[in-house]
Each structure stands twice: as structure tokens, then as C-alpha cells.
């Protein structure tokens, strides 16, 4: 081997490595973007579900005890402190951030359980209430949307974590200062959401629209919830 050949070979290896790192960085960037957007929509759907729960609780369709339980769980969800974005390195230490997330998911689990109880068969008294199907349908639809958003978010988180666990990604520090995202682990009342498509389907209040009732859009209520803020 001549020195020239050696140099060429080294150059080739460098080029390949550079190409691979660039491609992997682009992949990671795309996954991080997915983590942030899916988390933003999970936050939006959680807010929507909480307001649908408040509406159901105050509708007079439930007995006072159930209504009070549901309203309590729903307001707890709306008032729960929002941590930083799923990839934001600060503020606070990692432990503080994780505790904040865990408390939030605990509150959402409580709301899921309250909704499961309130929407069990025979709980809603629809006599003389033509709007009952609408209110219940909105709540059920919101539950299903939370289930969807949570699954999509966790799917993105798992794939991002998988890529970030690769040795080359860690050595080359491709993730920068982005926090390692964590899955959103809470009970999303999946059984309840699916019953929405079961026999006697409740009409979806607004198919094809993403309108959130005024005053409850995530940007109004949780200025710190979305990415990039």
C-alpha cells in the first residue's frame, strides 16, 4: 500500500462517518420533533378532556355526589402544574422535572377513573334532556382522543429513546442538551374510549373540527405547556 492509497482510504472512511452522523442527526431531529408535537397534542387533548368533564359534571345529568367527584378530578387536572417541555433541559433538576411529570400523570389517572365511574352504564339520567347524548358524546370522544394522543406520544418517545441509546449517538453527543424524553404513563381509560364505537354509537359532536371551546385552548391556559415557549 502506498501512502496515497492510505490517505484515500482514510478520507473515504471519514466521508462515510460524516455522512452517517449527518443522517443520524437528521433522524434524531425528526424524532425529537415528533416527541414535541405529539406531546403538545397530548396536552391539548388532556385540556379538552378536562373541560368536557367539567361540562358533564355541571350539566345536571349526574347525581350530585358523582358530579362533585368528577368536577374535583377535572379541576385538579386543569390546575396541575405543567413541567417543562419533554426535551427542555431546564428549569430544575432532572429529579424535580420527573416528579412534576409523575404528579401530573397521577392527576390524569384520577380523572380517567372519575370519568370511567361517571360514564358507567346507568349513571347518566337523560330523562327530559335532549342535550344528554351531546354532552356524553363529547366526554367519550375526548377520552378516546386522549388515548390516541398518549399512544402516539409514547410511540415517538420510545423510538427517540431507542435511537439515543445507540453508542455512536451518545459518543458524538448528537442529542445536544435535549432531555431524554419519558413516556406518559397514566391510565387513559382505554376501555371507555373504545366503547364509543360500540353498538349505539354516541354521535361525535363535531366531526372534522378541532375547535376547542373558547378559553380552554392549551395556549390560553397553559402558556408553558407547548414546545418552544
Amino acid at each position: 500500500m502506498t501512502p496515497l492509497l492510505w490517505t484515500l482510504l482514510l478520507l473515504l472512511v471519514c466521508c462515510l462517518l460524516a455522512w452517517y452522523l449527518t443522517a443520524t442527526a437528521a433522524r434524531l431531529d425528526r424524532l425529537h420533533h415528533r416527541v414535541e408535537t405529539s406531546r403538545a397534542s397530548l396536552d391539548a387533548e388532556l385540556a379538552r378532556r378536562a373541560s368536557a368533564a367539567v361540562e358533564l359534571a355541571t350539566s345536571g345529568l349526574l347525581d350530585p355526589a358523582t358530579a362533585l367527584l368528577l368536577a374535583d378530578a377535572a379541576t385538579a387536572s386543569l390546575d396541575a402544574p405543567r413541567g417543562p417541555g419533554p426535551l427542555d433541559p431546564g428549569p430544575g433538576t432532572r429529579e424535580e422535572q420527573e416528579r412534576c411529570d409523575e404528579e401530573r400523570w397521577w392527576v390524569e389517572t384520577a380523572l380517567s377513573q372519575a370519568l370511567t365511574a361517571a360514564l358507567a352504564p346507568g349513571m347518566v339520567d337523560a330523562r327530559g334532556r335532549p342535550d344528554a347524548a351531546d354532552v356524553v358524546g363529547r366526554a367519550r370522544g375526548a377520552v378516546r382522543r386522549v388515548e390516541l394522543a398518549r399512544r402516539f406520544h409514547n410511540d415517538a418517545v420510545m423510538q427517540a429513546r431507542r435511537l439515543r441509546a445507540k453508542r455512536l449517538v451518545r459518543w458524538a453527543h448528537l442529542a445536544g442538551h435535549a432531555r431524554l424524553p419519558r413516556t406518559a404513563d397514566f391510565d387513559d381509560a382505554a376501555a371507555l374510549g373504545r366503547r364509543d364505537t360500540a353498538p349505539d354509537p354516541a354521535p361525535d359532536p363535531a366531526p372534522g373540527s378541532t375547535v376547542v371551546p373558547p378559553g380552554t385552548s392549551p395556549s390560553d391556559r397553559h402558556p408553558d405547556a407547548g414546545p418552544g415557549s
Binding site: 408535537t37 403538545a40 397534542s41 396536552d43 390516541l148 402516539f152 409514547n154 410511540d155
Partner: protein, 371 residues
């Protein structure tokens, strides 16, 4: 919302995925959304107005059956142009791992991507070989949909991550209100069994039904078996002449005729031997109010509510098939009860509910982008 749907299989050939895409497009369009479908098709084939042809498909054996697929650089360029022209809010790919338009669209897409996995039998060896190449593309999918719990399990096992289950849709009313045809309607002496599917695929199980025929004719001599679908029926030709006379091959049927056949038959038989992910034809038969006897496969068991909405028998066992069918033929009251339960259960799969759920997925995917 502007929605781009991509179907990997030739649109002028009937098939489950094609029918699903066509119906989904129609329902989204009726709900006021802009829908464009990209699919391979023969030149000059008659297509619905919302379909854009990606060019001629080539028949290739893939995943256990012969599929008409479209690939190559010209196809890739057409797919990219369709994406550019469409300006879609969501791009919804069907069967993203089929080496055809869906995979090409996934490669080129820059808008949020939703993907529906229809199959429950991904060949794991092929997947393992191709996987490192596909992984970066697959990571672009923001929302994965599986059409059944079985299809979801396949996604989780072979690809990792998770998927949500949104079942296939059926226009239940069309089947419930179809008019039966007298020539396909059974009498107490000559009851009618129906079977639909591609006859050249062994996994559709026509040979199991044929093997059960002597037993069926021994108990009910007048029994008629109506078989509809594409392909040559080898198992029927192998039968004794007397048994073969009981089988009527109807050839491929159009949709109204299919609904009429399902309405007319006394029992719908699904003798599949494996590798089914959903069993939409079962739901169609149930919607038509026809009693169903099906192989005890995971997907069929779920559709039939563990046997509450239809009879199940051991897959590939002609004696078990004959037993289940004869039981149904012997007791018209039980058969009617089973048919009624099936019709009620089939409403879960009505398109109105399914399209609403698919829209929710689209909104979940696009909401995060706007926030």
C-alpha cells in the same frame, strides 16, 4: 382538512385494502374534507374521480399472495409530484411496508404521516433483512393504526413501538337492506352455504370446505355451496362428480351481487386456515343477517365475540367444519338468534363510527403541529 390517501395495490383489482381506501375516501369526502387517493391502476381503467393513478402495477408474489404493486424511479417521481401538488395536512398510507406506492410516499412525505397496517402476517425474515433500511422511514410515521388487535400485535412484535386499533369499516346498512335473490335463496331441503374470496389462495381454505362436502351431503343431501371470487377452483375439480355438482362457482361478483349473496345464504362459511388479520367479510355477512361459521383464528374469534355472534370450528378440520355447519342447519331458531346477535355486533364496524375515529387520529396528529 386536506387528506392524501395512498393505496399500494392496484385500484382496478378488487381487494380488501382497496375497498377500505375507497370507502374511507368516500366517507371523508362526504364529511366535507378534501380527499385525494394515489394508487396504481391500469392505463385507461375507470377510476373514481378522487383517485390519481400512480401508473401500471406489476404482479409480484409478496407476503404469501400475488399482489399488483408499483415501484421504480418513475413511480417514485409520480408519488413525489402528487405529494407536492396535493399540499396535504395529513398523508394517510395504507400497508406502508408493501414495496409499492405507500413506501415511496413515506419516503417522500414532509407532512404528518398516518399509517394503517392491515396485515397480521408480516414475513419476519424479509422484515429482518430490510429493516435497517426501512427504520428511518418508519420513524416518520406520526400515528400508526392497526385494523385489529392481531394486526397491532404484529406491528408491536416486528416493528416495535405501538399502534392504536381502528377496525375496518363496513357499510352495514347496505348489507342489511340488500334484496335476496331467489336463485341463491335456500329452502329447508336445499340450504345454501356461501363462501367469498380469492379461490387460488390455499389460506382461504376452499379445500377444507370441499373435504367436508361428503359429510355435509350425507346429512343434508340437497345442500348447495355457492362460491364467489377470482381464480381457478382446483379443490372443486378434484371432487367426486356428485359432490362437485353441489358446488356452484359464481366467479367474481360486484358489490350489490355480493351483498345479495350474503343476504340470501343460510350460513356463511369462512374455512380459512390462517393468517387473517381481520375478516371483514365476516362482518359483512353478519351485517346481512346471515349466520356465520368460521375457523377459530384469533381475528375471527374477536369479530365473532368468542363464538357469541357466530360458530367457531377448528381451522383446517373438515369434520369440525361439517359439525358446526350441520348444527346450524339443523336448528333454524338458533341460527336466527345467532344471526341477530351478529347483526347487532356488526354495528361496531359501521363506517360512520370508524370514519369518525380515523378523523380523530388525523386531528391528534395535526393538533400538535399547530400548538
Amino acid at each position: 382538512m386536506r387528506v392524501g390517501l395512498v393505496c399500494p395495490y392496484s385500484f382496478d383489482v378488487p381487494g380488501g385494502v382497496q375497498a377500505h381506501v375507497r370507502d374511507l375516501a368516500a366517507h371523508l369526502g362526504a364529511a366535507g374534507h378534501h380527499v385525494s387517493v394515489l394508487a396504481p391502476a391500469e392505463d385507461g381503467a375507470e377510476l373514481p374521480p378522487f383517485v390519481v393513478s400512480a401508473g401500471r402495477a406489476v404482479p409480484v408474489p409478496y407476503n404469501g399472495s400475488v399482489s399488483r404493486l408499483r415501484f421504480g424511479p418513475v413511480a417514485a417521481a409520480r408519488v413525489a409530484r402528487w405529494l407536492d401538488d396535493g399540499g396535504f395536512d395529513v398523508c394517510h398510507l395504507h400497508e406502508p411496508l408493501a414495496p409499492s406506492t405507500s413506501l415511496l410516499a413515506l419516503w417522500a412525505a414532509t407532512c404528518p404521516v398516518v399509517a394503517t397496517f392491515h396485515t397480521a402476517n408480516l414475513r419476519s425474515r424479509a422484515m429482518q433483512a430490510a429493516y435497517p433500511l426501512l427504520r428511518p422511514s418508519l420513524e416518520k410515521i406520526a400515528a400508526r393504526i392497526a385494523v385489529s388487535e392481531d394486526a397491532r400485535r404484529t406491528v408491536v412484535e416486528h416493528i416495535g413501538g405501538d399502534a392504536v386499533v381502528v377496525p375496518n369499516g363496513v357499510d352495514t346498512r347496505r348489507f342489511a337492506t340488500a334484496a335476496p335473490r331467489p336463485e341463491w335463496t335456500g329452502t329447508p331441503g336445499a340450504p345454501v352455504l356461501a363462501l367469498l374470496g380469492r379461490l387460488d389462495e390455499p389460506r382461504k381454505g376452499l379445500h377444507v370446505l370441499c373435504a367436508a362436502l361428503p359429510r355435509l351431503r350425507a346429512a343434508v343431501p340437497g345442500v348447495r355451496v355457492l362460491v364467489a371470487g377470482h381464480g381457478a377452483a382446483e379443490p372443486v375439480r378434484a371432487l367426486a362428480p356428485a359432490d362437485a355438482a353441489a358446488v356452484e362457482l359464481l366467479g367474481p361478483l360486484d358489490e350489490p351481487a355480493k351483498a345479495a349473496l350474503l343476504r340470501s345464504a343460510d350460513v356463511y362459511v369462512a374455512p380459512h386456515t390462517g393468517a387473517e388479520s381481520f375478516g371483514i367479510v365476516l362482518v359483512e355477512a353478519m351485517s346481512a343477517g346471515t349466520a356465520v361459521a368460521a375457523s377459530d383464528l384469533g381475528a375471527f374469534r374477536r369479530v365473532l365475540g368468542d363464538g357469541e355472534h357466530g360458530r367457531l370450528f377448528t381451522p383446517g378440520d373438515p369434520a369440525a367444519l361439517a359439525g358446526a355447519v350441520l348444527e346450524l342447519l339443523a336448528d333454524p331458531a338458533a341460527r336466527a338468534g345467532l344471526a341477530r346477535a351478529g347483526q347487532l355486533a356488526a354495528r361496531t364496524y359501521d363506517w360512520a363510527a370508524v370514519a369518525t375515529d380515523v378523523l380523530r387520529v388525523y386531528e391528534t396528529v395535526t393538533a400538535g403541529r399547530r400548538a
